[in-house]
Symmetry: C2
Subunit: 181 residues, 2 copies
């Protein structure tokens, strides 16, 4: 079955600092026309950072859900910044750790139905603490959480951030982590 | 450290069929004011559906990334629809299968930085084919994919949908699936 839509027109709805919103006119595979609301985002990175058997987890308020989440360190790509450099920068800024061993493990589309955001995910090891580099308007706590505790929190529904869960899926898939238990 | 922001005002930017966009004024923990661009979405469900050792995977064009993705069956919650009922409905509509055994496995925030979308994830077993119920403007292929192939595709970077990866993370975390390998 032909699946692709043909994008005919994009109309600007909103241009923000973090997101743009456009209304698209598309032609469906059956020739009919349809509208699509699309959110455009420059992309981000997330880092699953291991300090021996502990993972760095950031506790942070998120305005969109008006609640505090537990997430891996992450951040937006600045303009055309290299994603790996962004991963190094965000790890340092948010947690105070640097790593000479940051490896790409996979990428995710966060909300395929209406948003083009892609988050590139990395695994960092051999961490060295040099002090964080947060600005005055960033408020977060960094936890060093044993992997076993992280898995318990996932089972209890206390880790709900999609990039964090996806990073663990990529990591486990790569390392067959559970087979060692 | 105090993490919470206080939401002072919400201004409507866009009201669409799928998303609304608002500009929020917030008071930071240090008393300063800031702006937040927030996308509001009614929420969705995703279903990790097992037919013996195969998983139902939907192949679908996604306008936002202008590409074809492999995803678990999923869909938007209609108004105040019960999420479990939505899971039954979407499984039937998209794949043609029904299940009397759909179990909640966890929920995700897809894009915590700017969007309130929450996807509730379910695991379905004991599938029975009754025929799909798609409307004329829905174009997708349903694949019955062996779990081993799904894990291979994840390793090859061919499964990038965050709800699909998160569902597998929840499932593996619950069942310690890898330990049986």
């Amino acid at each position: 079955m032909e699946l692709r839509e043909k994008i005919i027109n994009k109309e600007d709805i909103f241009k923000g600092k973090i997101i743009d919103v456009k209304m698209l006119d598309v032609e469906l595979p059956n020739g009919k026309m349809a509208k699509r609301e699309v959110v455009y985002h420059n992309g981000a990175v997330g880092i699953l950072a291991f300090k021996e058997d502990k993972v760095l987890i950031v506790e942070q308020y998120r305005t969109a859900i008006d609640d505090i989440l537990l997430e891996i360190p992450a951040g937006k790509i600045d303009g055309d910044e290299d994603p790996l450099e962004c991963a190094h920068r965000e790890l340092r800024e948010e947690t105070g750790y640097i790593s000479e061993n940051i490896e790409y493990i996979g990428e995710i589309v966060t909300s395929a139905g209406f948003c083009n955001e892609i988050i590139k995910l990395y695994c960092a090891t051999d961490l060295k603490y040099v002090g964080d580099d947060r600005d005055d308007d960033e408020f977060l706590n960094v936890k060093e959480m044993p992997v076993a505790e992280l898995r318990e929190l996932i089972g209890e529904g206390k880790i709900i951030d999609s990039k964090t869960l996806s990073a663990i899926c990529f990591y486990d898939n790569k390392n067959k982590a559970y087979s060692n238990k």
